[in-house]
Symmetry: C2
């Protein structure tokens, strides 16, 4: 084979894969947003067949020969091509070890289980979801065993979601968080509770939708390439390339901040994805590199920017305009304090920044035990409730607001949750660095996200998946990861809100 | 090859095709409904690749060998299998004659041209659409030439949309319609105009959406399998099988009947598709057999049932409930007369039943000349306007309400329009037959579609594409097609409304 021809084939292969990704991603997105209720089996049928075809495309003899040839000649490839070959071979090495029937059966299982989870959550019926989750846990353990027989299965998946991560690092990270967060939360709890009445009332969906679209524009999302839809559990997905990005939200009529901050969160994901350099479109380098870096962006926009005093001051007049009856009696400081109120609670996605990581820790500890075979799925709800009492001091009234609240396990994402806490911590370190050259507060006060977005694009987004998470951190920070920067940031917030 | 094995492969092939149909259909549907405005090129990229892959799947050596083997052994196949092999081979014979590059380029062209048409219609800019339409006409002529060099290109496509149809039959059919319609329209025009003020006013979209969902339920659509979305030009599509059907509509705030009757029209398509026997799912026999039979169902529900006195009596109280300010001053007879007012007009989809076929005839005559190379695309707007003046006596104020009004040409459907008139005529004959055993008016007055739907399912829907249009007509009617039944029906309507 000629090297030049092989390089062309490398691009063609990725274009084909991106077309299948587009198709399969859209089928899932459709299922999560507008598809009629009774169509899950039909969708599973199509996805089962397409995943079998893509399996054969990715692991077929021709593909493997192509990539191995390119890998042998990697010295002559560009940096981007080297990374493409590395990432593709990594996937192939994994896929080659999974028997085709198991892979296809798993893909179908995942489609069905999401449907079952949706219903189970709506009806507070963990028992109906349990058999699916059992199969998912078993498959994830088995797949890790095929892929890396000498690695602990949970370590394997942690590293998949965030390359470089394992239980040891998580344990260290979470233990440091706990050391400083537990007394911090306690200190806040001893102060007078922050009122949040301004967030609760009657906020019609149509108006919330207007707010969502306004904030998407304000934060600088390229709206010709980013759509908004309604779903049960908000998520973001790219279709084929960073040129078509979809974010989703869920409106609660009685609560104005839930959808608002979910839109900013998903908008952060979408900014990261759509910020890829256009030359990366239809390659495996397109879009974000890892869940940790992804969450560092989404939670950066949601919390570090979105819940800052400067942004709340900019945002509040718009809120008053959209919901005059509810909000005219209040000032922006009331809103700022309310969305930063520290209050142990039931729902992760609604949690304040300070208690948030405790929600993640509960999931981490449970996943660790599930994946070690030390906890049965049947015992999960009771353990969940026990740990929420221990970590957050709250009583879980039902599984809908407990173990069934998150969609992740229903689509097999076991090992994802730690990225949320890790990403939050990365974000605080990015902020510190950004402040060296950008007057972040001044930008936010006038609602000008351009300099902030430009910094992120320059430093992070444009590269897509070209660099590993460790390389991204090293390039951006020039310093090692340090969770204490995040903890300092959280303490600063608490000082402002609670006068600690 | 063993026959038994080949039969299994026949089913597997169709399942694969249905998965690709699902994916590609959904990508198009997404583009027509919720996709962000700037994503057409990204969509075209994915569709270009997937259509190349499906081309190779359908025309590949293995597929051809399989189908030819089965065809040689067709005596041992079931009736259904014989029909599958026939339909698949027919497609292959066509595809084999189209060069791959031309096929792929055409698929991309179609995606782009729909986007261009949408913009051109919005901006009354025919010039921007013209180069795309020129390429489409040229491709359709060329493809017909590849497929059937001895057949006239327009005849070829008429027969594709409605097997058995050609220019000669169209000419006869339309000439008979004209003979009786022109004096009928004239006679109505000499009577006092029917007031339609009750249809015009302020009908908020949210309420129209409620009406759409109510009428979908009333007409017996299986709502767990049929979704509703908003688009520019309403259409219906199946995703993968009849188990997931999507209809679309467009709300005009100042007009209550437009979206209502488009929903009933598309609902008729969806009833036909979803009425396929479940055993046909994921095969080429799933869903309706031809455009003519399809329109016989959609226009049957829209007009013959939907604009009947009996249904208007049932429907009107619901309309009053949803739009009390607008409609409380009126009675159901006002509504019935208004939606049956005979009035030559500009927009086909908004036309009354009597003048409707004239809209189709204009398109038929223009298509005939375009496909014969006797009319240049550049001259189309002027010719359109001239013929609207001649046939309908109306002046076309702009191309948005003229030659750009329909989406069909933008996706290559040249030869489709005659099916609308033909289907309408089939429908009148079906009604006559149905009345022999079903008291249609009594059902409609109480809003009970079950006996009507059951008759259609029994007679037509369940068979999907098992029988040709001619066989369907023969089986259902036991008599030859007779456009005078349709003309009698229209005259009867005019007698009621205008007291002719």
């Amino acid at each position: 084979m000629e090297l030049q021809e092989a390089r062309g084939q490398l691009m063609k292969l990725q274009e084909q894969m991106s077309a299948y990704d587009h198709a399969m991603g859209l089928i899932s997105y459709d299922g999560d947003t507008v598809a009629p209720r009774g169509t899950a089996a039909n969708r599973a049928h199509a996805l089962g067949i397409l995943s079998e075809i893509t399996y054969q495309l990715s692991t077929g003899r021709e593909t493997v020969a192509l990539l191995e040839y390119l890998d042998e000649n990697r010295a002559e490839l560009t940096e981007k091509e080297q990374r493409m070959v590395f990432l593709l071979l990594k996937d192939i090495r994994f896929m080659q070890k999974i028997p085709l029937e198991e892979y296809v059966a798993y893909e179908k299982l995942i489609v069905e289980s999401q449907d079952v989870w949706r219903r189970a959550k709506a009806e507070n019926d963990f028992a109906s979801f349990a058999p699916y989750l059992e199969k998912i846990v078993a498959a994830r353990i088995r797949f890790a065993g095929y892929a890396a027989p000498d690695t602990d299965p949970y370590d394997y998946w942690l590293n998949e979601f965030e390359p470089g991560l394992n239980r040891e690092k998580c344990d260290q990270f979470f233990s440091r968080l706990r050391q400083r967060l537990v007394p911090l939360i306690q200190a806040c709890g001893e102060k007078a509770a922050v009122p949040d009445a301004c967030l609760h009332g009657d906020f019609p969906e149509e108006q919330q939708e207007k707010l969502a679209k306004w904030v998407m524009q304000a934060m600088g999302l390229p709206l010709d390439h980013v759509g908004l839809a309604v779903t049960e559990h908000p998520f973001t997905t790219s279709l084929g390339s960073h040129l078509d990005e979809r974010i989703t939200t869920h409106y609660y009529r009685e609560d104005v901040s839930s959808s608002l901050y979910s839109v900013i969160h998903e908008g952060g994901h979408a900014l990261y994805d759509t910020g890829s350099d256009d030359s990366l479109a239809y390659t495996v380098l397109d879009g974000g590199v890892s869940m940790g870096i992804h969450e560092s962006q989404s939670r950066f926009y949601e919390n570090i920017l979105g819940r800052s005093a400067a942004f709340c001051r900019f945002l509040f007049p718009k809120l008053q305009e959209l919901f005059p009856e509810q909000l005219l009696p209040y000032g922006w400081q009331d809103f700022y304090r309310a969305v930063n109120r520290v209050q142990p609670s039931l729902i992760r996605t609604e949690a304040d920044e300070v208690t948030y990581s405790l929600h993640v820790m509960v999931r981490y500890e449970l996943e660790k035990r599930l994946m070690a075979g030390a906890l049965a799925v049947a015992d999960l709800p009771a353990e969940w409730n026990r740990m929420y009492k221990e970590y957050l001091g709250v009583d879980v009234p039902d599984d809908t607001r407990g173990v069934l609240q998150d969609s992740h396990w229903s689509f097999g994402a076991i090992g994802y949750f730690p990225s949320y806490a890790l990403g939050s911590a990365y974000g605080a370190q990015f902020l510190k660095k950004m402040r060296e050259t950008v007057d972040v507060d001044a930008c936010l006060e006038r609602g000008d996200f351009a300099p902030i977005n430009e910094w992120n694009r320059e430093q992070i987004w444009q590269y897509g998946s070209l660099y590993t998470p460790a390389q991204v951190l090293e390039r951006v920070l020039g310093a090692p990861f340090d969770p204490d920067v995040y903890l300092d940031y959280l303490e600063g917030k608490c000082r402002e809100i609670y006068g600690l």
